[in-house]
């Protein structure tokens, strides 16, 4: 399943860390999926905070369908000021937070 914001964000640094620390391919894939899902939730939180109730319904109704992603992203660009900038910033924050967690201790 492809997440709606994957083509906008760049979170390669944490995936390199995962590559470095894990040997098993299945475990690496699992870790990357958990990280993707964590970032996705952070971005969903940001988007829902920015939209009114009806726009949230429109957004949530289409976000699961990959075919709807291009038109939904267009709508989000219309609805939210500096949409891509906010998404990239939030994704980077989420990534940094997880890198810090890995590095502490």
């Amino acid at each position: 399943m492809k997440y709606i914001f994957e083509d906008i964000i760049e979170t390669e640094s944490i995936f390199l860390i995962i590559e470095k620390h894990f040997d098993d391919d299945a475990e690496k894939e699992h870790m990357k999926n958990v990280i993707r899902d964590t970032i996705h939730h952070k971005l969903m939180d940001l988007i829902l905070d920015e939209l009114d109730v009806e726009k949230r319904v429109v957004f949530l109704a289409g976000v699961e369908n990959e075919n709807e992603h291009p038109s939904l992203l267009e709508r989000l660009r219309d609805w939210i000021d500096s949409f891509e900038e906010k998404i990239r910033l939030k994704a980077k924050e989420a990534e940094t937070e997880m890198i810090d967690l890995i590095n502490v201790g």
Partner: protein, 277 residues
């Protein structure tokens, strides 16, 4: 990989998974109302898919399998519900109180609304009956047919029982119910009339499973017509209900919406009113 490195990767996995759980839990807690609202609409659009889980895109393979299984269960439940509902109401003139409660409960779950047969000790004589197609009603002084949609429906010569509407949507999505046939109407009309005025109801067409939130905007139709309810042109069009020899039956239930948060109109996110936003 050495045992130290292995231990380190175990620690990393634990930390990242715990963090993930915490982020997901916080998200669900914070947006519970929104997700519930969206789920209500998703039931209408997807026939029973659990939008929340899918929307969140839980990528873990077990979570995904669980979601798929849950969706299959929900779809099967909805199909069963439709079958049961149709068998319950087919060729029936009236429903008993137990059947009414079953239907109110099932439709509450289907649409995510709090639907009631009886509210504040008030209830309609029937919740299930034929629906006649009504004309538009004058909303306020100076109103004209040209300012309404679906103008072919025409305009009734008089205002509705409650006179002026508060807004455009109330007239657009109104139903008429037989208030004058209520057993206590003649005695208690002075208190009943304000209670019923623009009271929210769900109108449900069991044939196509469509539902729409409307208000009680008029009293009628007359008993001799054989119809129990009347529907505005927009209500009838959305529910795809006909009048005359092709007339169909609908279910009408009170919407318990004490905070006045439920919007009037189709309970379906694909409907034009949402898509145009």
């Amino acid at each position: 990989m050495s045992s130290v490195e292995k231990s380190n990767s175990h620690q990393i996995r634990k930390k990242i998974e715990e963090h993930h759980k915490s982020v997901v839990d916080r998200f669900h807690e914070k947006h519970a109302e929104t997700l519930k609202f969206a789920k209500k609409h998703s039931l209408a659009i997807a026939g029973a898919a659990i939008l929340t889980a899918a929307a969140l895109g839980v990528s873990h393979i077990y979570a995904l399998e669980h979601t798929k299984h849950k969706q299959q269960q929900e779809t099967a439940s909805l199909q069963l519900f439709v079958k049961q509902l149709n068998s319950l109401i087919t060729d029936r003139k009236t429903l008993n109180s137990a059947e009414e409660e079953v239907i109110a409960d099932a439709l509450s779950k289907k649409f995510g609304l709090n639907l009631k047969i009886s509210l504040n000790e008030n209830r309609l004589n029937e919740i299930f009956g034929y629906v006649g197609k009504e004309q538009h009603l004058y909303r306020w002084a100076g109103d004209a047919l040209t300012s309404h949609d679906l103008q072919n429906a025409g305009m009734a010569p008089l205002q509705g029982a409650f006179k002026d509407f508060d807004d455009v949507d109330q007239e657009k999505y109104y139903v008429a119910v037989q208030l004058h046939e209520l057993p206590n109407w003649n005695k208690d009309w002075s208190t009943l009339k304000p209670w019923y005025k623009y009271r929210k109801v769900l109108v449900f067409n069991p044939v196509n499973q469509k539902g729409i939130v409307a208000v009680i905007g008029d009293s009628g139709p007359a008993k001799f017509t054989g119809k129990t309810f009347g529907g505005s042109p927009e209500v009838m069009e959305y529910l795809q209900m006909k009048d005359g020899s092709q007339k169909g039956k609908a279910i009408i239930l009170f919407v318990d919406d004490i905070q006045n948060k439920i919007a009037l109109g189709p309970v379906d996110p694909t409907a034009t009113y949402l898509a145009n936003k």
